[in-house]
Symmetry: C2
């Protein structure tokens, strides 16, 4: 297999999405006439056509290290719900005020601000419920704690705060990278960790540390490419508005680098990601995923 | 002891707050120059002077059923953080748009809407992290699942949605009671359940069912008295604006009952609450708490 085989990555993402989506549908299937607008909003945003990269990482790392994918599936769903909640809240008028996401009206445009706020809250809450109900319970408790740490003040939410402060003042380069690590890297890191937890690996297992290093690097790459595409990409391909960062005077990698330098920087991080896991037999697809995320155009 | 001894209740709440507040301070103590505004907002709302009724219930039920209060303390803190997050989000402009809470500016007035949104998200997330890290892990996982269920779409958040729909259409009496049960009763019920979980009681233990019945009833009473005080109380005593419900045309117990009838209805629920636990030796203070919540004026 070519190490940059996009077809393999696309097939892998599709196969994992084929496992995750029915499970998500089941988790969000309960109906209630009085709560219809809330439940519809939760489903609308959860099934808005994401690539399901985070849940794929959970399942792939679980398999890579010999775990049963059934043990990883609830964590994969939980991570995707946390990701979905973060998008809903991030799009709200008091945050990024985005009207379009994946080519569709954002949750608050479709359902109103109050319902979008509550749907985000509900998906975050449901994520922890799903993770906590997984078996065995000691691993479930560890997974909840890990997911909460990654999503919390010193993880994704902290990253959002840094991102906001990068709109009113210029973040120095180190702080910018920290913002990327927290805002995007933390949850991607948690995906790798939860896959390892499902496979029964302890915190100090070298395989788990390798997975975390891979994920931290591809998380950084993911956000760098996001900000690069905001400058060089097209709204049509991305399914969302472009050139937003410059319009807001926001600090991004483009504040410091030319597009070519940014891409080169991301390529170095991608090599580091690949190096950390390529020694494990079966890691080829995950390595190819790293290159795929580097080269993506949407 | 007089069954309506308010002094005993006040002393009990104060003693429990004296245990819970230092623990909350410790959980929210981490500092970070880049995240100062977020962490300050989390602490501002958490230490805004609540009565700490929910954490008191966790600790009291744990003690009542022979548990070690140390095992209950993380759950007590987690419940209070979930309660605090719900107040922050509930006060946001897209929800109730309240400027005053417990006599102080609400979080979004003090820190801006984006930070208030994220601080709420962060406290909810931290709550699950704290609960998940408690020991033993199997009980921690059960506690997280119970807390998430009570806080989620078919608990507190569902109650908020019903509450919102009660502003644009009149809820029938049954739906109104369901709204009360979800919006307020669910989290108060979870407080009782988490105390029982900390004491090692199984889901089907009769003591746990008694605690849940007590909590469901005092939760209903709590919300009924809240809505009664909105009509009959004073802003000065309550530390928040009054007469809001009528101004918004919101369905409350006052849509169906006179103040006297509402009070009588709440008194019946209080007797039911007391009856469900009064057979357990040591339950006197919890019984007195039920009367205290019925008679409160703020």
């Amino acid at each position: 297999m070519n190490k940059r085989d996009n077809a393999v990555v696309v097939a892998m993402l599709k196969a994992n999405a084929g496992i995750v989506e029915p499970a998500l549908k089941k988790y969000l299937s309960e109906d209630d006439a009085h709560l219809k607008v809330l439940l519809d909003a939760e489903r609308y945003s959860t099934f808005a056509g994401g690539k399901r990269i985070r849940p794929a990482l959970v399942l792939e790392f679980c398999r890579l290290f010999g775990g049963d994918e059934k043990a990883a599936l609830p964590y994969a769903c939980a991570i995707e719900l946390v990701h979905t909640y973060s998008l809903i809240h991030d799009d709200l008028p008091c945050m990024d005020n985005d009207a379009l996401r994946r080519g569709k009206p954002t949750c608050h445009v479709a359902f109103g601000e109050a319902v979008a706020l509550l749907a985000g809250d509900a998906l975050l809450t449901r994520a922890f419920e799903i993770a906590a109900q997984n078996r065995p319970p000691d691993r479930a408790a560890e997974a909840v704690a890990e997911l909460a740490r990654a999503a919390g003040s010193f993880g994704m939410i902290g990253g959002q705060v840094l991102d906001l402060s990068g709109e009113t003042s210029t973040l120095d380069f180190e702080t910018l990278l920290r913002m990327y690590r927290l805002k995007t890297g933390a949850l991607i890191g948690a995906a790798a960790e939860l896959g390892c937890i499902a496979a029964g690996l302890d915190k100090n297992d070298a395989r788990r540390r390798a997975a975390a290093a891979y994920a931290e690097n591809i998380g950084l790459v993911f956000q760098i490419i996001d900000d690069l595409l905001d400058v060089t990409g097209s709204s049509e391909l991305l399914g969302k508005a472009c050139r937003k960062d410059a319009a807001r005077g926001k600090t991004t990698i483009m504040t410091y680098y030319t597009p070519e330098q940014a891409k080169q920087f991301a390529a170095g991080l991608t090599e580091a990601a690949v190096a950390s896991i390529s020694g494990y037999p079966g890691s080829e697809t995950l390595c190819a995923l790293a290159y795929y995320l580097l080269e993506r155009e949407s």
